[in-house]
């Protein structure tokens, strides 16, 4: 009976998880459409190493549970210290984790490095429950905003008297991006926390009222994708959904002008 319970332990942990893995592996990361492939690579290596550790430790747990189940006349070993063994597994674990950490910090530094000078600047301002997208227009300067001027017609409080704001291009929940050109997204929020999430681009950054946050990346393929809000922002959080349209660089100005008509 004891053996059966040990065996059940093995089956439950390893088989259940293995079957679940087999059954559910179809869903995975959404297809990648930006230059952030290094994040996918990091996920792959992490999956590989943690997956191996997961299987090995669970098999050991299962094997021990089965092998050392109580039997008549059995007696446990009296063995409770082995400094060499303990130091070995501590240092090996630390070494493996150090490699992960080193790689992860390098990648983090790369993702957070300053955007290239030729990056397209787009401002995205979150509000309950929409994304206000703004381009600088021909003068390359974003007009001033003042929250006291915000209204139904002017949700981000753009200051109309500022000459720089005259040619600003404003869109709601539609983000047009040229293929192959770095884009620097400057994030703001009017009200509560939001999080600008582009699942197909491996991009996520919180928008915080009273702060300017930003992130940059390069779209690599044309197509239409979704913008999601990843930070709980109220009862409409689930439908704070926008769209990214990555268009050929040559068509970008025309497509943007066309979109701004509406």
């Amino acid at each position: 009976m004891a053996k059966v319970e040990g065996l059940l332990f093995a089956l439950a942990t390893v088989v259940l998880v293995a079957v679940a893995t087999f059954y559910f592996t179809k869903p995975w990361l959404p297809p990648l459409h930006s230059d952030r492939g290094a994040i996918d690579t990091a996920i792959f290596w992490t999956l590989l190493v943690t997956g191996i550790v997961f299987i090995v430790t669970n098999l050991l747990l299962a094997w021990f549970s089965y092998r050392f189940a109580d039997a008549p006349g059995a007696r446990a070993a009296y063995w409770h210290d082995n400094p060499r063994l303990e130091w070995t597994w501590t240092l090996v674990t630390a070494a493996i984790l150090a490699v992960f950490l080193f790689k992860a910090l390098g990648l983090w530094a790369k993702v957070n490095a300053a955007a290239p000078d030729d990056a397209l600047v787009v401002e995205v301002t979150g509000q309950q429950f929409a994304w206000n997208v703004r381009y600088a227009g021909k003068d390359g300067r974003l007009g001033r905003t003042d929250h006291t001027q915000a209204s139904q017609e002017n949700p981000i409080g753009l200051v109309k008297e500022d000459p720089a704001s005259a040619d600003d291009v404003l869109l709601l929940n539609q983000l047009y991006l040229p293929q192959g050109r770095p884009v620097r997204v400057q994030l703001r929020s009017m009200d509560v926390l939001h999080s600008f999430f582009l699942p197909h681009f491996r991009v996520k950054q919180d928008a915080v009222p009273g702060m300017n946050t930003h992130t940059w990346f390069t779209p690599t393929q044309t197509g239409d994708f979704e913008i999601a809000c990843a930070e709980h922002c109220g009862l409409g959080h689930y439908r704070m959904r926008g769209q990214v349209h990555v268009v050929p660089a040559a068509d970008f100005e025309a497509r943007l002008a066309e979109a701004a008509q509406f």
Binding site: F9, T13, V17, R36, I43, A76, A77, A104
Partner: protein
Amino acid sequence: MAHAEASHGEAHAAEGHAPQRFIWRYVFSKDHKVIGIQYYVTAMLMALVAGLLAMLIRVQLAWPEKDFPFLQKIVPAGYSSGFMNPEFYAMLFTMHGTIMVFFVLSTAPVSGFGNILIPLQVGARDMAFPFLNGLSFWTFLVGCVVILSSFFVAAGAAAAGWTSYPPLSALPSAVPGSNMGQTLWIVGMVFFIASFTMGGLNFVTTILNLRTKGLAMTRLPLTMWSMFLVAILGLLAFPALTAASLMLLFDRHLGTSFFLPAGLVLNNQPLVSAAGVPLHQGGSPLLWQHLFWFLGHPEVYILMLPALGFTSDILTTFCRKALFGYRAMVGAMLAIAGLSFVVWGHHMFLSGMSPYLGMAFAVGTILIAVPSAVKVFNWLATLWRSRIQYRTPMLWALGVVSLFISGGLSGVWLGQSAVDIQLHDTMFVVAHFHLIMAGAALFGVFGATAYWFPKMFGRLMNEPLGKAHFWLTFITYYGTFFPMHYVGITGQMRRIYDPYQYDFLKSLQPINQFITVSAILLGASQILFFVNFFWSAFKGKKAEENPWHANGLEWTTPSPPPHGNWPGAIPEVHRWPYEYSPPDTEADHVMQTDPPRPGEGH
């Protein structure tokens, strides 16, 4: 002081000191065992509430468009049109998290088993401050009542998430639950923290000062080490949340701006006074996040460390084998407790906090995986060449080891800040913390319940029922939380009322339905526990003094222990609590109190 007298004076008089009237003996009791059981039972009833909230969350995620007439009958306010209202959903996940983290998983293992076990395992007649102990329970109960009452106020309970991030939680009009519900949330938390602080002072003092003769710190069971560390973590970390909660209360009701910056516009209406002056200025939403997680991360270990302690005690008993690497186990707990104070920023990698700071927090986070791994290796080494007796507590202990592995490994994913960009705020995180924090704590509590039940009620829990409960829980727990990793990797965000609004999440509905079915089975399996608990407490098989043939001090007194804990003098300790199957004795264990053997150091 009466207590100190009792521990040193004529011990057999202790029972005579017990209050005889029911109300003083079992209701407003100062006896640590009664208080512990009060805490425990209250926490389990709160778990019932929070668990039911989780069931509704899961039903919504599986079938967001489906009409549930019977649910409309039960909670008309949440299903006003037959479908669930989005604001009701926000309230569900907020209150599920709040109640589970604080009022269940901090309370049952720490306040519940801490109180029951500390005097019994260190050899004291009671806690150092019995009156403070009683007071802490009644303060906790006020917190529970306040939190539960918030379901019935206008606009419902808090709905800003269990993390209560401002401005959502600070602006009453930002979300329906941000009205009276949020204020009651804050008040409930302050009561909870006050109670936890009183408990913590008692824990630390009792463990440091009231250990019996011969019980050096280096001979403490790991459960005691975990209680000691948890109490210190609570005392150092919770004040940050007390301060933050009061500041949030001021922001909401007294017009301060700790967490609110200037320039807020709600519903296209600028938040300015009639004279055009901003209603708020100078505050920072990030300040709350720092203060919240300065508590929040040590809090995770407040939940988990006791479970790790229980697991070590239970594993050795049913392995009949000495704990492998006692020093390393204590060292790992110390390291985890220490590091838990320098990792809070990993909840904030994408919050707008400086990326340089993010790097520092990533280092601490990955570092904490080392002592965690050491614990797993030591448990595996304890199992090696042991003689496992499969009783219910042992199954739960093995379950903790399994969950600690599964949940710990996904921590290595999330700790890499760059990988976290994709996974942050997705169901992957939900999977991670339900396996490691919630799961380990819950399994630890179930294991401890079965193991120490004799000391709580003088009886044993029913074995077949206990085992059935374990297997159903173990399988459905994995069935619920393991597939959530895949859902999260695909990108499903947390706290989403209807994921299928998004094209990229539409394909996930079948998996979410699988998870929901599993979660409902998981919930239903808990009926077995409640039946077993109450039936065994009154009708279970009577337990002898030491039914598991374990070594600790708590097994040297009758089950249940009398008022004052030992009918006679408090026994003296001669060794560590893990002396199982030593080669020089015929018996397969030597109790802490057995006289020294020839050649054994004192």
